[in-house]
Every structure is written in structure tokens, then in C-alpha cells.
Symmetry: C2
């Protein structure tokens, strides 16, 4: 056994991680009031010490699971051949994903866990990277493009805002948000 075996996919560490993530997911999904290390450990069938050692703080673990749940919508970004098509498909994927009740609960749990201002947020960073990839491709095709920050502010933020405040989001909204952001970069008279 090499020293790296604890992080090898399929190894002990990976099984523990999967059990812990599932336990957190189930507890959040059930709307559990107090999610503590002992509660998670019992559900996951692991030693609480493992959790204390790895995450230090239960909020850290909750945030890690929330980020994983909130950004892994699938492996591939859409590739329709136009920025309008890509952004629309992507915004629809994000919408379907974050409006699922258990994802919406994660999102709110993540907001609730935040205390002071953070330098950056992994959910935001992941969405920025995805937006940047779509923009880069459009730019290579010589399309007019918004900035990734504009896509974050005008497409992603309104969707997350609505889910955070538990407001309904139908599929017309992401479509309109994308039309709006593209309208921002249309040549003006």
C-alpha cells in the first residue's frame, strides 16, 4: 500500500466521503433541524472523529456538500454553435437543477451557514468559469460577447435569488434573462 492509497478513487477515503455526502444530503433533504457531526456520523456509519479531523467545522462540511450539489449539473457544457443557444441551454440546466426541492434546500442551508463577508464563493466561481468557457468559444467565433461577470449578475444571480427566496421560477425566466443579457451587448444606434 502506498501513502497515496487513502485518496485513491474507490479507496477507503472515497467510500467515507461518499457515505458522508449521502448522509448530509439525506439529512438536508429531510429538513433536519440540527445537523451536527455526531448526527452525520451516525447516519453515515463513520466515526465522528473522522469528521472533526477532516472538516473541523460542520458548516465547512455543509458548504462543501452544497457546492458539490449546486454546481455539478452534468459534465458537459452545451455546445450549440451560438452564444445565444449555449447560454439558453446552460441557463435552463442551471434552473432545472437548482429548483429541485433538495437542491433548493441546500442552497438555503449554504446561505444560512455564511457569516462574514468571504473573499470568494465556490458556487459563484464555478458559474463564472462555466460562463467564461461559453464566452471564450463565442469569442473564437467572432461573436459579440458580454463579460462573464455580466452573465453572472444578469443570468445566474436572478435565478439563485429566486430559489434562495423560494420564489417560483418557470422556464421562460432563464430564456428572458439570456435575451436581456444579449440585448446589453447589441450594437446601439
Amino acid at each position: 500500500m502506498s501513502a497515496t492509497s487513502t485518496t485513491r478513487p474507490g479507496g477507503r477515503s472515497s467510500r467515507v466521503l461518499s457515505a458522508v455526502y449521502s448522509a448530509v444530503g439525506a439529512l438536508v433533504g429531510e429538513g433536519a433541524e440540527r445537523i451536527t457531526f455526531p448526527v452525520i456520523a451516525e447516519r453515515a456509519g463513520v466515526n465522528p472523529t473522522t469528521l472533526y479531523r477532516r472538516w473541523g467545522d460542520v458548516d465547512e462540511l455543509l458548504e462543501e456538500v452544497a457546492v458539490a450539489a449546486l454546481t455539478r449539473d452534468g459534465d458537459e457544457l452545451p455546445d450549440t454553435g451560438t452564444l445565444a443557444g449555449d447560454l439558453t441551454e446552460w441557463a435552463l440546466i442551471v434552473t432545472r437543477d437548482i429548483t429541485r426541492p433538495e437542491r433548493a434546500r441546500y442552497l438555503r442551508a449554504m446561505v444560512a451557514a455564511r457569516q462574514d463577508v468571504v473573499a470568494h464563493c465556490e458556487v459563484t466561481d464555478t458559474r463564472l468559469e462555466q460562463a467564461s468557457a461559453l464566452i471564450r468559444r463565442a469569442d473564437d467565433r467572432d461573436e459579440a460577447v458580454p463579460t462573464a461577470e455580466q452573465v453572472l449578475d444578469h443570468v445566474i444571480a436572478p435565478l439563485y435569488y429566486r430559489v434562495a427566496f423560494a420564489l417560483p421560477v418557470d422556464e421562460e425566466r432563464p430564456r428572458r434573462l439570456v435575451r436581456d443579457v444579449l440585448r446589453m451587448i447589441a450594437p446601439i444606434r
Copy 2:
């Protein structure tokens, strides 16, 4: 004494309300872990029964206080003579207000209290009304105007999103968001 004396401003009900709101504000401000009716009642110096009778559910009370805290930024909407000026001033007022640490905590507490999808949210409704008032005035001056929903999605949502996720918001952001939303309604070639 008439039957309406309990709701008279300055009457007993108003004093209780003020004490309860202050207690909730202080507890949220201190980052209290569990805010329950008994905890609030003790801090406010009122009988817990009063709270159970009036609010039924602690989340309902927290949300009421949060809405009050998150929408009363002042009595007057800006009136600068142009939509660009009004939206910019208003977005700056909202930004300064919701980024204050105790307001940001309220906002997160409010998100955390949400369970299932709601038909409407008072914070959102209040912002929509304010946006509508500014738009109506601009429309009366024959300016080109966005819809109130567009202002909500593209100016308010990105600001609340950042505060909810505890991301920093400098004053350039609301200015840019307003420029972006006005760019959306500029005549295209």
C-alpha cells in the same frame, strides 16, 4: 378606552412590537444560534404567550422582522429627474442598506427560514413597487423604460445574491448594474 386602543401607535401593542423587534434584531445581530419564542420573550421582557398568540411560528416572526429591516431604507425614493439618476441613487441606497452586517445577517436568516416555494415574497414585492414607481415617473417624462421585473432581475437580484452568499459589494457594482439594464432598452441598430 375603545376596542382599537391595542393597535393605536404608542399603545401597549406598539411597545410590545418594538421590544420584540429589537430583541430579534439584537439576537440576529449577535449571531444567536437558536432563536426561539422563549429566548425572544426573555430578551424583550414580554410573556412568551404573547408571541405564540401573535405569530404562531418563530419563522413567521423572523421573516416579518427581516422584511421590515430589509425594505425600510428611508421614506423617499430618489427623484433626480432622469431614470438613470433615479435607478443609480436607489441601487446605491439598497446596496448600502443590505450590506450593513446586521442587515446581511437578517437577509440570510430570512433565506434560511424559507421552506417550500412561496407565491410571493414581501421583500421582492416591495422592491418591485419601488422600481415601478421610478419607471412610472420616467415613462411620464417619455423616457424609454425597462419593466419592473427587469429592474428586479438585473439590479436588485444581483445585489441580494451577493449579500446572501456573503460576497463583497462595492459601489461600482450597483452603478454598473443600472448601466447594464439601461443598455438593454437602448435602441439597437
